[in-house]
Every structure is written in C-alpha cells, then in structure tokens.
Amino acid sequence: MNILSMTAVELSRAILAGRVTAVDAMEAVFDRMESLEEKVHAYITADREAAIRRAQAVQERIERKELTGLLAGVPVAVKDNICTEGILTTCASKMLSGFVPAYSAEAVYNLEKAGAVLIGKTNMDEFAMGSTTETSAYGVTKNPRNYDHVPGGSSGGSAAAVAAKECFFALGSDTGGSIRQPAGFCGVVGMKPTYGTVSRYGLVAYASSLDQIGPLTQDVTDCATVLEILASQDAKDSTSISRDDTDFSTALVKDVTGMRIGIPRDYLGNGVDSDVRNRILAAADVLQKKGATVEEFDLKLVEYAIPAYYTIASAEASSNLERFDGIKYGYRAKDYDGLHNLYKKSRSEGFGAEVKRRIMLGAFVLSSGYYDAYYLKALKVKALVKKAFDDAFSRYDLIMGPVAPTTAPKLGESLRDPLKMYLSDIYTISANLAGLPAICVPCGEDSKGLPVGLQLIGDCFQEKKLLRAAYTYEQSRKETCGDARAI
C-alpha cells in the first residue's frame, strides 16, 4: 500500500480502520522529504523526531478511541505565518528568526482537535507579501512540477508541499490570492472561504480586513472536509462570524444542473496566455455538458481592483507591522543609540525589501494630506467593487475564470519588476476586496507542461455552490483524463 497516494480523507479512514498508523503516515512524509526537499525547499521548519513523537501521541489516542475525527492521524503542513505553540514561526522573515509562539492559532487548534498532526512550517513570501515565494529570508521554494519555475505565492511552500506529496494537505493564508494562485501554479486545490469563516486568531496579520486562512489539498473532497473543520466562530477574533452551514462536505455532489455561471470578459481578454484561455474555455465546456449554463459578461471595475487592493493592503500592513520593534519579540539590532534608534535599526535590518516597500507605501497613503486621495478613495472603490459583484451575483450563481493570466513564471523573473508582479494578481484580489469565497482547481496544463488553475468565485456564504461545481468539474475531468491528481 502506497500511503502517499492517498488523499487526507482516505488516509484518515485507513488509520481509523487500523490499516495504517499515524506514525507510518508521518514516516512516509519525511522519507519523501528526504528525497525531494533539497530540490523543492517547501519547508522552513520540519523536525522529524518531534513530528514522529506528535504522531505517536495521536496514534495512542486513536487506539484509545479518544480521537475519531475526520482527520485522525493525518500529517498537515502549516504556513509559517500561522502560530504553532512551541514551534518556530518566522513569517519567512529575519525579523522573527527566533520566534516561538506561546499559543497556537485557532485554525491549528481546530485541526488538532480533529486529529491532524503537524509536520512542520512551510516557506512563504516574507510576511505574505509577494506572489512567488521568492521574498522569503530562508531561500526560494521551487515548483515541484518544474524546478526552474516559482511555486507562486505567498503560500508557495504549502502549495509545493501538497504537489510534491510532502504532506497530505496544508494550511495557507490568502490576502490577495495567496492560497489560490500558488495552488493553481502547482496543480493542487486551494480555497479562500468567505471573510470571517475561519478565525484569524494566531495568524500574523498582514492586511486584517482581507486576510483569511484556508486549505490547500489534493482534491475537492479534502478541501471541503478540511474547511468544515477550520470554520468556527471564535471570541478571540471579533471579525469571525457564526455560520450554521459549515457541513461543507454535503456539497460534494456531482451535479451542476441549472447552475448559472458567468465568465467576466476581462478575465479572458488581453494579457491572458492563450494556453490558459483555452484550458478555461475547455473547463467551461465540461461544466456546460453537465448541465450548467455558462456565458460571458461584463464585470465592471476589474482594472480598479488592483490599485485599491495595494492601497488598502499596504495601509493595513504599515499599521500591523508597527508591532515589530525589537522590544517584546523578534529581531533586535546589535548596535543602537537610544530607544528610537533601536526601533529604526531593528526594523531596517529585520525586514526585507518588499516588506519595507509596502510599509512605506502604506505610511504614505495614510499620511495627512494623502489620506483622502488614496486610502479613503480606495475604500470607496472597494465599495464599488463589492457592488459590481452584487450585481453579477444577481444574475449568476458563480463566476469563473483563470486564477492568473499565465502559468508559473520562471524563478527570478518577477522580482525585477514589482509592479508587474502586482498586476499578475488581477483575477484573485477582487474576491478579497469583496470578502467572497473562491476556489482554485487544476484544469490541465499549458504547452510547457505547467499546471493551469481554474478559479470559481461565489457570493458570500456560497461555499457549497463553489464546492459542488468544483467537485463536478474534478470528477468529470477524472473520467476523461484519468486521475486528475497525478503529477
């Protein structure tokens, strides 16, 4: 039996049935890492002995029937901006090079309650700022499908770990596409739920009004199952919401009859690779054959979402990252002259270039004299973007399109021109601005063999529609191309 060929759901069933142990699964993950991690570098922290000890403890609780959850014994990788008690959490920054949290994020706590076992912490863009996982202070992660290409970002380590089968599933965070885009580039499933569905307690904040934690998985069934476990209202995150419809796995139904799906014309227009466009149109065909109606429409304001996003995200980042001052935790400069100089030097030495760039832009758009013209303007644009989606969802159940205009770029290409990198987020950031749930599922490859990601966006609280359509597409594709998960 090849443990690594199982999905998370299949593995937990096998473990609960006594056919495999949590320890076997963890050993398999680390054996896999031994042969691949040198090339992929998906993890920042992964301690084999500690992980095996955690797996042993969970296995004992499974055998005592104390743990019977949906993820019993399943090894999980967690993005390094999500706090894990007693385990290094660096945000891929020199700033937090020695930071060991005293508590775990609520999302991690929920996973552990369901029986999942932490493998380690995955690489990412520093403080989740980037789209390629190249701004990490701990080296770049490479795309397991082609080592010359980036895995996407900022949850690139999580996506790469799932694609390389160096874990059974992973957690990421999505502020402007940071789960969906790397999922697309690596050929796995990734989902950002409706804002507030998963507690942000213990997620190191980048842009609090946009950040959401979500799963990266091998298939849609795992995605629904993990999200079901992650979702919870939490008194420790006052923006988390109470929902009574989090039984997401009930949406795994192969049927899209009568579903109305719209493709924004701009999502297939200028700047989109022809291979990407063709794969999306082919996916539209599949859903149409299964009973959905698919048509193109004009989604307004697409080109205004990016400027609004970078204004709001940078503003919130400049405020959120003020806490890193070299006093209570994190990096402190060796030489300094007085308190203010300590702050300045610690921050200047601790943060990388992209983080500084966004902090400064944020400070600028919030400064008096520019606040109304930039920050307030962006909040108004956000309101208009939200309204454009409200209009769209009065006519369509779902919106579909590519997750990004291209497949994964080559390593090093994106860093040369930050603005160009920002523009590649065009199809993902609107969902964050409007708080919408969105999922990315693999939909084939381009001519170079790199994965193309299909993105489905739903109205707030419509995760079930998303999952149903994604599941229907995945299953239909499996019938025609064999196992959609195979690398």
Binding site: G98, F99, V100, A102, Y103, Y195, G196, S209, A235, S238, T239, L301, E303, Y304, I306, P307, A308, T311, S318, D325, G326, I327, K328, Y329, G330, Y331, R332, Y336, G338, L339, H340, N341, L342, K344, K345, R347, S348, F351, K356, R357, M360, L361, A363, F364, V365, S367, Y374, L376, L379, K380, V381, K382, A383, L384, K386, P418, L419, A434, G435, C460
Partner: protein
C-alpha cells in the same frame, strides 16, 4: 511621466515607518513609490462622489464581552521571545 517623490517626502515616510534607509535605499524607494503611485492614481478616474467607504464587508459593530481573564498567566512564556529581559521585565534602552 513618473510621479516625483522628493527627498523630503521620503525622509518623512522613513520617519512614519520607523525605517532607517541607506542613500541607495532612499533612491530606490523614491523610484518604486513614484511608479506605484502613478499606477494607483488610476483610481482617481472613478467618480466616487457620494459613495460610502467600506472597510469591512459585513457591517461590523463593536463586539463586547465581560473583561474576564480566561487564560493562565503566561508571562514567563511571553518573555522567552524577548531579545533582552530581566527580572520578569522587557529591557529597553534609557528613554530619558
């Protein structure tokens, strides 16, 4: 035409951001920010007269709760991460 971010503005942004920039970094920051603002200025094309700005998608109201301690004293654990500590306190340079 790239927006001109003058030295004075960069200096001011550096103060607001609590960042100490080398001469090279200042130049780069000016260029990068100028390019970015040129791009962000696209927003100005949109007529937003009378539009209510929104920060959170759902109408959020203050969430109140009783001020009750639910966790144990984690003071020692918190200090573990401090760059410098002494007698259960964070050590900072003189502030006078």
């Amino acid at each position: 035409m790239a927006k001109k971010i003058d030295d004075e503005t960069i200096e001011y942004i550096g103060i607001l951001s609590k960042l100490e920039l080398s001469e090279e970094e200042r130049q780069q920051a000016g260029t990068d920010m100028g390019k970015m603002l040129d791009y962000i200025d696209k927003m100005q094309e949109l007529d937003t007269e009378g539009v209510e700005p929104i920060s959170h998608i759902f109408r959020m109201e203050n969430v109140f709760r009783e001020d009750v301690v639910t966790n144990a004293d984690a003071g020692e654990q918190m200090l573990v991460n401090a760059p410098r500590q002494k007698d259960n306190m964070f050590v900072v340079p003189p502030t006078f």
